[in-house]
Every structure is written in structure tokens, then in C-alpha cells.
């Protein structure tokens, strides 16, 4: 097999950049910021090169690079992308420079360490999406905890310590049980294949042959880890804390990319590795997903804190993604992948915009604001677009994802039942309620608070530069989603084929 080093370069760019950051002087804040942005832009350029070199008509993994890493355990450094992971890689490299740019004012304390943490966080996220060795995946999955932990803990809000520790321990609990399942699977593989291996492509053949009762447990261990990350109701309690306490950049990355690691894990590991269990548990999981959709929406509705509102809306939106994945039709899984990207863009944008207000007034409670349309017209328009995208207005990105998921779940052979779709659809309506109601209270009406008149200024050029690229994609996906759907179509089909070949035919 020919080796392709591009993905390795992609990983190395932020690693080297991060190490170089350490050699700057602490006082050179501006320089460090520019350097961080330059490094993350370089990573973005590399990911674009990968995108243009990617063959969309090939369902296999591409850009594979494999080197033996730990010989005694037959573990290799093995990376590659298919359409789904490529899309998420692009999302990561796209959002990282934007978040770095957004922190220009917000982060003053220890810029050097912040940039270092962000770049290493990027390494962890990219590694998760491109690993084709389940052990390597686990390493990135865990290693990414450390920078995120620092980002919340050092630069966060008042209750940052509680939030950081809760985030860390929740994630650890899930992932360590997954580690046991990974080892079990690898040991099982050494019985059937004759050698110990953690190569994902080989385990795809082994996983479905595991006896059903044990497979159920292993599926459970993997699922628990991913469900905590997603987060799926009722495991979501760490998310509002982490989101509210994290600095804006942390929230954007957390919502934009980190949560997608959970849903990506479901698509990449849970479904194809344990198809029988996945189909068996799909109705139960989907019930949880639907509960999450409605519960998240209802809780959002009563929030008084804007950031918390957006955080709970994530629970609701990601419920759609999980529903789409476990409906297991081509439409719904593609919709779920698109919805992952959508959520990254629109929720990322919402967090950025809440951050814009917060930077000026240091307040996030809705009641404090009112009638800001008169004070900051530009901001109000931008916020409207971001909200509508999150609500799922046709013509913007959110609609495409939710529509595909709903269609897919409607005709899903796994559910064979309309009720999931009916209840999930109510989440779309509720989203409109809580988001637009928030908008009404904050933006419209008379100016309720005199303090606002002094403190609030409209968005500046830097903030527009951060938000504009996100909007381009929000509209692009909304109007011409085929660019992105073509990318994921064959990969989705090959995953569903893998699942279907052991259970019911999913590709009718």
C-alpha cells in the first residue's frame, strides 16, 4: 500500500506550532496570537489540499499512512479519512483559527499557554477523526482532555473548577470502560485472527462475530463513552456547566467539535463494530434521543442565561443527530453527519455572538438586555441569521440536516414506527420558540437598561471576519448541500452495508 503523508503533516503542524509557542516570550502577546492563527491556518490549508485530493467515488479510506508504533502489541500509527471524517476534519481546522481570532480581547491572561492548549486540542481532535487504529483513537480521545481541562479551568468563569473537574471525570468514566472493551475486543481478535490487533479495519470483521450477549456489553461500553460525550439525555449534566464556565473560545470548540467526537464515534465504531447490538438497542437509544430533543428544548425555554440556553439547545440538536444515526437509513445518517457540521457552525456562531455581548457588558442574563436593535443594528442582524440557522429555516443549513434526519427516521426499517419522527419534529417547533423568544426579549422593544447605552458598541471588523466565513457555509449548506452530501454518500453506504450484512438489509 502506498503511504500518504498528508494527514501526518496535518497532525504535525499544530504539534510543532504548539511546541514553538513555548519559545516565545510571555510578553509578546500579539506575536503569539498571530503565530497561533498562522499555524492553525496552515493546518486548514493542508486539510483543503486533502479535500481536493479526495476521491469521492471511492468508499474506502484514503490518504492512509501506517507505521508500526508498538510492536509488542501490534499497534500501529494508522491514519486515513473517508468522507465522514474528512468533513469533520475540515470543520475542526476551519473553526480553530476562527476561535483563536475571536479571543483577541477575551483572553488576556497567559496568552502563551492558551494558544499552546488550543493547538494541542486541535491535535487531539484531528487525531480522533483520522485514527484507523482503535488504540490510537483512544490515545487521542483521552489526551484531548488535558488541554480542554485547562482551557475551562484556567480561563473559565466563576465556577470553573467545578465544571472542569466534572467534565474530566465524566469523560474519564466513559472512556475507561471503553478501554476495557477495546482490550477485550483485541484479545478476542487474537483468538479468531490468531494475533492481537487493534487495527480498526480488521476489527470490523471481528466485531460482528462476537457472541451476542458479550457484544451487547461491549456495545454498551463504547456507547456509554460516546453518549457522555455527545451528550445524550440523561448523561448531559456536565455539558451546561462546562459550557457556561468555559471561555467563549472553549465553548465554541466544545460545541463545534468536541461533541461531534461522540457522534462520530457512534458512526465509526458503535454501528459497524457491533451491528447486531446496534440494531437491537436502536429503539431504546432513539427514545432517549427523542427525550433529549424535547427535554433540551423545554429546558432551554426557561433559561435566563443566554449561554445556558444555547448549551441546552445543543442537547436538543444533538438528539437529532443520534436519532439520525440510529435510524440507519442512508438519508438519516447523511443528515446526521450534515447536522453535526451544522450544529458546529450555528451553535459555534451563537456562542461567539453571546461572547461578543459578554465581552462588552460582562452580563449574560437575558433580563439585563432589551431593545439592543437600536443600539447595535449590525449585531442584531447577524444574531438573527445565526438563530434562524439553528432553528432550521429552509434555505439555511439547519433545515437540510433536520429534514434528512426526519425523512430517514420516518422510513427507517429499524424503527418501523412513525412516532419517533412525530415527537422529534416537535423539537423543531420548540427550537423556534425558545430561540426566537430569546431574540425578541434581547433585541426588540424599548431599550430597557441605561447601562447598555454606554457599554454596547456594534461589532468591529475583527468580529465580522470571525463570523463571516461561518455564514458563508451556513448559506452554502442551505442552498447547495450536494457539495457536502456527495462527500459522505459512499462512506455512509459502506457503513450501512456493513451493518446490513449482519442484520436487516438497510440499503433498499
Amino acid at each position: 500500500m502506498t503511504q500518504n503523508l498528508l494527514l501526518t503533516y496535518l497532525l504535525l503542524t499544530p504539534i510543532i506550532g504548539g511546541v514553538l509557542v513555548l519559545f516565545f516570550k510571555k510578553e509578546q502577546k500579539e506575536l503569539i496570537r498571530w503565530f497561533g492563527i498562522a499555524v492553525s491556518l496552515a493546518a486548514f490549508v493542508i486539510s483543503l489540499i486533502i479535500y481536493f485530493g479526495f476521491n469521492q467515488n471511492n468508499p474506502q479510506f484514503q490518504f492512509i499512512h501506517q507505521v508500526i508504533w508498538i510492536k509488542s502489541l501490534n499497534i500501529s500509527y494508522h491514519v486515513g479519512v473517508d468522507g465522514i471524517s474528512l468533513l469533520l476534519v475540515l470543520l475542526t481546522t476551519f473553526l480553530t483559527p476562527l476561535t483563536l481570532l475571536s479571543t483577541w480581547k477575551a483572553i488576556e491572561k497567559n496568552v502563551k499557554m492558551f494558544t499552546f492548549s488550543m493547538l494541542f486540542l486541535e491535535v487531539g481532535m484531528l487525531g480522533v477523526f483520522i485514527s484507523l487504529d482503535i488504540f490510537l483513537f483512544y490515545i487521542f480521545w483521552e489526551a484531548m482532555l488535558i488541554p480542554m481541562y485547562f482551557i475551562i479551568g484556567v480561563w473559565g468563569g466563576e465556577r470553573r473548577i467545578y465544571a472542569a473537574v466534572k467534565f474530566f471525570i465524566f469523560t474519564m468514566l466513559g472512556s475507561l470502560l471503553m478501554l476495557v472493551a477495546i482490550i477485550w475486543l483485541a484479545v478476542y481478535a487474537s483468538d479468531t485472527l490468531g494475533y492481537f490487533t487493534t487495527n480498526l479495519l480488521e476489527l470490523y470483521k471481528v466485531g460482528p462475530t462476537v457472541p451476542h450477549d458479550i457484544q451487547g456489553w461491549m456495545f454498551g461500553a463504547f456507547f456509554l463513552s460516546f453518549a457522555i460525550k455527545v451528550p445524550l439525555f440523561p448523561l448531559h449534566t456536565w455539558l451546561p456547566d462546562a459550557h457556561v464556565e468555559a471561555p467563549t473560545a472553549g465553548s465554541v470548540i466544545l460545541a463545534g467539535v468536541l461533541l461531534k467526537m461522540g457522534t462520530y464515534g457512534l458512526v465509526r465504531f458503535c454501528l459497524p463494530l457491533f451491528p447486531q447490538s446496534a440494531v437491537h438497542f436502536a429503539p431504546v437509544i432513539s427514545i432517549l434521543a427523542v427525550i433529549g430533543i424535547i427535554y433540551g428544548a423545554l429546558v432551554s425555554m426557561v433559561q435566563t442565561d443566554m449561554k445556558k440556553l444555547v448549551a441546552y439547545s445543543s442537547v436538543s440538536h444533538l438528539g437529532f443527530v443520534v436519532l439520525g444515526i440510529f435510524a440507519m437509513t442512508v438519508e438519516s445518517v447523511q443528515g446526521a453527519v450534515i447536522q453535526m457540521i451544522n450544529h458546529g457552525l450555528s451553535t459555534g456562531a451563537l456562542f461567539l455572538l453571546v461572547g461578543v455581548l459578554y465581552e462588552r457588558t460582562h452580563r449574560r442574563d437575558i433580563a439585563f438586555y432589551g431593545g439592543i436593535a437600536k443600539l447595535v443594528p449590525l449585531y442584531s442582524v447577524v444574531l438573527m441569521i445565526a438563530l434562524l440557522s439553528s432553528v432550521g429555516l429552509p434555505g439555511l443549513n439547519g433545515f437540510i440536516g433536520e429534514f434528512l434526519i426526519l425523512i430517514g427516521s420516518f422510513k427507517s426499517p429499524v424503527f418501523n414506527n412513525w412516532w419517533f419522527t412525530i415527537f422529534a419534529a416537535s423539537g423543531v417547533i420548540l427550537a423556534a420558540v425558545y430561540l426566537l423568544w430569546m431574540y425578541q426579549r434581547v433585541v426588540f422593544g424599548p431599550v430597557t437598561n441605561d447601562e447598555l447605552k454606554d457599554e454596547l458598541t456594534d461589532m468591529n471588523l475583527r468580529e465580522m471576519i470571525v463570523i463571516a466565513p461561518i455564514f458563508i457555509f451556513i448559506v452554502w449548506i442551505g442552498i447547495y448541500p450536494n457539495t457536502f452530501l456527495n462527500l459522505t454518500e459512499l462512506s455512509t453506504k459502506s457503513i450501512l452495508q456493513q451493518v446490513g450484512s449482519f442484520t436487516i438489509d438497510l440499503l433498499k
Binding site: 508504533w69 508498538i70 510492536k71 509488542s72 502489541l73 483512544y138 490515545i139 483521552e142 489526551a143 482532555l145 488535558i146 481541562y149 485547562f150 479551568g153 484556567v154 470553573r160 473548577i161 472542569a164 473537574v165 474530566f168 471525570i169 474519564m172 468514566l173 475507561l176 470502560l177 478501554l179 476495557v180 482490550i183 477485550w184 483485541a186 484479545v187
Partner: protein, 465 residues
């Protein structure tokens, strides 16, 4: 050979100590020289395996890798001791001689081919440790530590001697080779099994496993920090090396089933007890004492699993643990003030702004101890969990990961204090260049063994054949 180098080193050191008044300045460097030389000598000749002294001692192979851990560990401890002892007020030449002698004892233990040799090595090591624990004779806590260690250690020794007596009574020989070859016949003899059990219990004391852990917290807290770092790492490694020798004897026969539940029990108890109790500790040394108990538990998973792979896993774990713990204790010894002050968590508050390098190193050690990849501590756990699952003891691995989750809490609490809180106590840290070097070396080793675990694993595997 490595034993002779150390022995010669001890004699030379004693002469030096008697003849020269400046010996305190020369001795540490001399010890470091000897330790590093022995360490690399052992690894270099790792495949030259032969038996000495009429079948009493083995050199090369498995003992060589242990010798490497002992000597590198001791060298690092000596390096971090130099300035610490001045601060602590016990800058005596004897200290270094005692460390050398204890290392000799450990090397005898790990290379023993006869149960009596194990006993001799153990006593040599333990007696040095009893003295080292009380090295500051003017301080009450140090005396208490020494006394406690001595009494409970003597108790454990009693078990071991009684066990050896029973084994000899049943088998008529103390040669380990003989035990290995005839284990099947002996294992039906109840007296032999009883003796073996006593022997294991005695060593369970030494590895600090629950329920034989009572001495650990007080001794670790009361002794000088550098002494604790020596005891908790190389001392534990030496005790494990004996258990591994015995284990390999038992492994060759299916009779192992008798002891498997025992190890599984102490493993699960130690992991959970250590992790849970450590949560409520506010003193760092005491917290690391409980963490050391729980690490003994993780390693004991490997003993319970009892396959050839688990041996390599335990040795890897021991090496990783040695470096992580020495690193952590060295950082504590740098921050520590006079009279045991500043070993509380509060003293570490705001360390990241006082001394970023020290804080970063400590954070690295804490994450490594918590078993976060890609650091060496993670692979230690990974290897023993694999061995447990291979031996169909998945429940033990699950218990292990659950207790890891608990332990994450108190390890990252140190990071919380260092990074997320502002300084509570106002003091200036005098960083000693020697200690800092030791911190750097351990941090580097943890990173290298974490990112490229094969570098260490290949050496271990080649030693096992």
C-alpha cells in the same frame, strides 16, 4: 558483577567517609557514578545470563532489568537529595552509604535463586530503610516513622521467616529452581501451601497492599521526602521482583489457582481503598502514600492474571511508577520548607505563577500517575489490564478502571490547586539545580516511555527470554 560494583562502592564510600571530612560533598557524586554505571552495565549485558555462588544468585536477564530500575531510581533520588538534605538539616555521609547498601539488598533480592538469598537481600534493604526513615533523629515524626516501619516490618519479616521454615520443612530445600520443578508435587502438601501463603503475606506487607498497608501513610509522611521517594519506588519494585520470581515458579504449573483469588482480592482491595482514602487527604505526601497503595493494587492485577505477558506488564508498570513517583516526590522536596512545612495542598496553590516549570512538571507527573495517555503510567495500566482480560478476569480490569476514575479526582486536584487557584501562602521557592535536573530526567523518561513504550518494553521482553 553489578553486585560487586555496588559492594566495592560501599566499601570505598565507608573508607571515604571515615578518612575525609569533605566526604559529604564527594559521596553523592560518587554514588551517582556507581549507580549509573551499574544501571547501564546491567542493561548492556542483559542477555548474558549466568548463575553465581553455587546456584544462589542469578545475573543478567530478568534481574538485570530490575537492577536498572533500582540503580537509576537511586541515582535520581541521590541527585534530588543533595540540596534537600541541607535544607532538612541532615546532610550526613551515612545517608548515601545507606542508600547504596539498600540498593545492594534489592539487587540480591531480585537476583536470588534461593529463598534464603531473598531473605538476606530483604533484610539488608529493610534495615537500611529503617535507619533512613529515621535519618533526622531530632524530629519526632521521623522517629515515629522509623519506629513504626521497624515494628511492622519486623512483623512482616516474621511471617516470611515462618513461611520459609514451613516451605523448607515440606520441600526439604530452599532452592527456587527445585521449587519450580517440583511445584506440582509440593502443592498437594498443605504445610507447603501454608508456608507459601505466609511468604506471600509477608511480601504483601512490603508492596503496601491492603489489608497490610497500615504502616504506609505514617511512614511515607514522616520520613524525609527523598527517603520516601526511594522507599515507595525501588523498595516496592524489589518486593515485586520477589513476587514475580515466585510467581514464575507457580506459573509453570496449573496449581496457580490456589493463589489467584488471593492476589485478586488484595488487588481489588488495594485499588479501591487507596483511591477512595486518598480523596480526603490534604497532605501531598500522605496522598501519594495512598496512591502508592492503589498502584500496588493495579500491579497485583498482573499477579492475579498470572500469564507471561502480565510479568512484562508489571515490570513496565514498576519502571513507569518509579519514575513518576520519584518525579512527584522531588517536586515536593523542592517546594517543601523547614520542619515538614509546605507539603500541604494549600502550599501548592498558585504554583503555576510562582514557578511555571515546576508546576508543569508536577502536572505531568499527576496526569501520568492518573494514567492519562500518552504518558508512561497509562501503558503500565494498559499492559496489566490486557493481561487480566487475557486470563478471563475482565471484572478485575473493570474494577481497575473504576478505581482509576476515582483516583483521577485527587490527582487532578493537585493540578487544580497549582493552576486554577491563586497562591494562599506567601513564600519563595529556592529551586535547587540538582533537584530540577532530576525532575527533568524523570519527566523526559515518562514522556519517552509514554510515546514510545516499545523502547522499554523491548528491553523487558529481551530480559525475559
Amino acid at each position: 558483577m553489578p553486585l560487586l560494583i555496588i559492594a566495592a562502592g560501599i566499601i570505598l564510600s565507608v573508607i571515604l567517609e571515615i578518612s575525609s571530612k569533605k566526604s559529604v560533598r564527594i559521596l553523592p557524586w560518587f554514588s551517582i557514578l556507581i549507580f549509573t554505571f551499574t544501571a547501564f552495565y546491567s542493561v548492556y549485558y542483559i542477555d548474558q545470563n549466568f548463575v553465581l555462588f553455587g546456584g544462589m544468585l542469578e545475573v543478567g536477564g530478568k534481574p538485570a532489568i530490575f537492577n536498572f530500575i533500582f540503580n537509576i531510581g537511586a541515582a535520581l533520588v541521590v541527585l534530588s537529595s543533595m540540596d534537600y538534605l541541607k535544607k532538612y538539616g541532615t546532610s550526613y555521609g551515612e545517608y548515601y552509604i545507606l542508600i547504596q547498601s539498600s540498593v545492594l539488598g534489592m539487587m540480591v533480592m531480585s537476583g536470588a535463586k534461593d529463598i534464603l538469598m531473598i531473605f538476606m537481600g530483604l533484610e539488608l534493604m529493610s534495615i537500611c530503610f529503617y535507619v533512613l526513615a529515621g535519618i533526622n533523629r531530632k524530629k519526632l515524626s521521623s522517629n515515629e516513622a522509623s519506629m513504626k516501619y521497624f515494628l511492622l516490618g519486623a512483623f512482616a519479616t516474621g511471617f516470611i521467616v515462618y513461611g520459609i521454615a514451613l516451605i523448607y520443612g515440606a520441600a526439604g530445600s530452599t532452592s527456587i529452581q527445585n521449587l519450580i520443578e517440583n511445584f506440582g508435587t509440593y502443592s498437594s502438601n498443605i504445610i507447603f501451601i501454608l508456608g507459601f501463603m505466609f511468604f506471600l503475606i509477608g511480601f504483601s506487607f512490603k508492596i503496601a497492599a491492603v489489608p497490610f498497608h497500615m504502616w504506609v501513610p505514617d511512614v511515607y509522611q514522616g520520613s524525609a521526602t527523598t527517603v520516601t521517594s526511594l522507599m515507595s519506588t525501588t523498595g516496592k519494585t524489589a518486593a515485586f521482583s520477589v513476587l514475580l520470581i515466585v510467581l514464575s515458579a507457580v506459573l509453570s504449573f496449573n496449581a496457580f489457582n490456589v493463589f489467584r483469588p488471593y492476589f485478586a482480592a488484595i488487588a481489588s482491595l488495594s485499588m479501591l481503598f487507596g483511591s477512595i482514602v486518598a480523596i480526603s487527604q490534604t497532605n501531598l505526601k500522605r496522598m501519594l502514600a495512598y496512591s502508592s497503595i492503589s498502584h500496588a493494587g493495579y500491579m497485583a492485577i498482573g499477579l492475579a492474571a498470572g500469564n507471561t505477558f502480565s510479568m512484562a506488564g508489571i515490570i513496565f508498570y514498576l519502571a513507569a511508577y518509579t519514575f513518576m513517583n520519584i518525579g512527584a516526590f522531588t517536586v515536593i522536596s523542592i517546594v517543601e520548607g523547614e520542619n515538614d512545612s509546605r507539603t500541604e495542598l494549600n502550599s501548592f496553590a498558585g504554583l503555576s505563577s510562582k514557578n511555571p516549570i515546576l508546576a508543569a512538571a508536577m502536572a505531568l507527573f499527576m496526569f501520568a500517575l492518573a494514567g492519562i495517555p500518552p504518558l508512561a503510567g497509562f501503558f503500565g495500566k494498559y499492559y496489566v489490564f490486557i493481561s487480566a482480560i487475557e486470563s478471563h478476569m475482565t471484572w478485575l480490569a473493570i474494577l481497575g478502571v473504576l478505581s482509576s476514575v476515582i483516583s483521577v479526582y485527587f490527582y487532578i486536584r493537585v493540578v487544580v490547586f497549582m493552576y486554577f487557584r491563586d497562591a494562599i501562602e506567601d513564600f519563595k521557592i529556592e529551586v535547587s539545580a540538582y533537584s530540577l535536573t532530576a525532575v527533568f530526567i524523570t519527566a523526559l523518561l515518562i514522556l519517552v516511555f509514554g510515546i514510545f513504550p516499545d523502547t522499554l518494553m523491548n528491553v523487558i521482553l529481551s530480559a525475559m527470554h
